[in-house]
Amino acid sequence: MQFQWLPATCGLILFLLVWQLFVVVTGLPPILLPPPTQVAMALWQERLVLCRAVTATFAASMLGLCLSLASGSILAVVFAQSRWLRSAFIPYIVFLQTVPVVAIAPLLITWFGYRFHTVVLVSAIVSLFPVVSNATTGLISVDPLLVDLFRIHGASRWQILIKLRIPNAVRYLVLGLRVSAGLAVIGAIVGELFVGDVISRFAGLGTIINAWQRMVRTDAVIAAIGASTFLGMAVLSIVNLVSTRLLHRWTDSADFEAQG
């Protein structure tokens, strides 16, 4: 679906108006729900802190996403080699997906310390599953006719992997990355809840949301949530941009079904 600026802007303005009106009419205390104007003021007031936090979280989530892309792709290639391997290991990848990261974050800290790279790791773990599952699907769900074609011309297993399975998996991988993009940001923010330096150094969005919530700064918390959403969309746009600019050869799938 195309993003249409005009309706989207109108929708946003309408939403903000209803919000403002709701707060004014009900006379809710701002500690419960501040009006959008107050959130905007908090946003402006804390712009430097927010910018720094967004930068830190952006760095962590991009690195996390790259890490899960790299490790997920390698895992997928391994899994694509045999059904036995898939049956042996994929249940545990699913397990990794279902274990709440909140529960394993303290363990990760024990192993890797209160460091930026622990946040990256949490982000990567959270965003790994869509990459592995999509890439594996892409590698194994090649058109059997194409496999026949390769076999007729005496292709080796390696040639089938490089010239058929991997190119076929790219568009699946990109679909997975779109899901992972949001998850990587969530993972980084969750990681920061446990790892972030609450005073200065890598005060990411997770850290400041935590701090502001403890200080009952509902307006600033909402501003930070807005910034998180913005960051999620930014990371997603980067994935989309890379896929349309660099990978369009493998991902343009108009008429894909018709001719495959």
Partner: protein
């Protein structure tokens, strides 16, 4: 008869459902919004109004709810004693104490009227006021702030001026941290989220935030030789375990507030004299691995915090304008509150504790 029965059971069921929703509500801002919607649509309601009709006809105690700022611990001992030893009932109150936890939404719950009283430290009271929540402190159980930093003896660190190079576990967004930071005491300190005593014990180059009546004992139990550095010694000394309510409660139901303050004052004095029974009660309620030894230690330490040397028993719970003003000035300097917005006379009210003392 039949009608009376069904309407009564309906009422209590509804109360149960509300209590259930409050337990899960408001850990996050999103949930707060949902809670707010519930409140505005009338499900939450004002328990005072709903209950008054019921209790007026019968000779029953007036139910009221108090929310704690943490899990049940020694710092809440006097409040539990007020309920356990029957002081509340004597004043016609049926007190339900609801445990808190990290980021317990006491201000939100007070503002929506779902609870009538809460326990908070003076620094939180100022933060709530800054955010427009009209909460008022009624009595201060702890005169001295129990806030401290724990370090290992073998680290050689002997004062808050020597924290450089340590990893400090601390809760994000705590005003005392900003106070330390503004004094340059956190330069070169890695401040990481609070995760508990175990991690502190494991690393001699680490430090952790704590309350003098709790964490030092737990760390020693876990085998660490700790040195306790009190933040109050730097002049940052907010009252702790204050009983708070809302301006609306004070205006509309001053008798209820007075009854509550009376009961809590008696509860605290009784707890400081003999905490044993109350500690056993708290032990049952605490699901975070509390031990009786820790509570006994806590109660002993609290005696010095609640009634410092030279302070007569009768003055328990007192608050002074000067102390509150100092805190507001310190917060203004840290840009945590706007002194125009948070007026010293609005944040506390000593009339009730004074009346209780007479």
């Amino acid at each position: 008869m039949n009608v009376w029965y069904s309407s009564r059971s309906g009422g209590s069921l509804e109360r149960l459902a509300v209590a259930e929703s409050q337990r899960t509500v408001a850990r996050s801002p999103m949930l707060i919004m949902v809670a707010m919607l519930l409140a505005s649509s009338g499900c939450g309601g004002d328990p005072a109004q709903r209950e008054s009709g019921q209790s007026a006809g019968r000779d029953a105690a007036r139910p009221t709810t108090m929310m704690l700022n943490w899990f049940p611990e020694a710092e809440h001992g006097g409040f539990y004693a007020a309920e356990l030893l029957g002081f509340c009932r004597e004043r016609g109150l049926e007190l339900e104490i609801r445990p808190g936890g990290p980021a317990a939404p006491v201000a939100q719950e007070l503002v929506t009227g779902r609870i009538e009283f809460a326990v908070a430290n003076a620094d939180d009271v100022l933060l709530y006021r800054q955010q427009g929540a009209p909460v008022v402190a009624l009595l201060a159980a702890m005169q001295e702030s129990p806030r401290c930093i724990l370090v290992h003896e073998e680290s050689g660190v002997e004062s808050l001026q020597e924290l450089r190079g340590l990893t400090l576990q601390a809760g994000a967004g705590r005003p005392y941290l900003l106070f330390l930071q503004a004094r340059g005491l956190l330069d070169g300190v890695q401040v990481v989220p609070y995760s508990g005593v175990a991690r502190f014990v494991a690393d001699p180059r680490s430090a952790m935030q704590g309350y003098t009546f709790s964490e030092p004992f737990l760390a020693q139990q876990a085998g660490a030789h700790v040195r306790v550095l009190k933040v109050a010694e730097l002049g940052f000394n907010p009252y702790a375990s204050c009983l708070i309510t809302t301006e609306r409660m004070i205006a509309s139901q001053p008798e209820l507030v007075q009854a509550m303050v009376d009961a809590c004052r008696r509860g605290w004095l009784a707890y400081l004299d003999d905490p044993q029974a109350t500690n056993l009660h708290i032990l049952k309620l605490n699901e975070q691995g509390m031990t009786l030894d820790a509570l006994t230690f806590g109660a002993r330490e609290l005696r010095n915090l609640c009634l410092p040397e030279g302070m007569p028993r009768e003055q328990f719970g007192r608050m002074t304008r000067q102390r509150w003003q100092t805190l507001i000035d310190q917060f203004a300097e840290l840009k945590l509150v706007d002194p125009q917005k948070v007026a010293v006379d609005s944040v506390f009210d000593t009339r009730f504790i004074a009346a209780a003392t007479e």
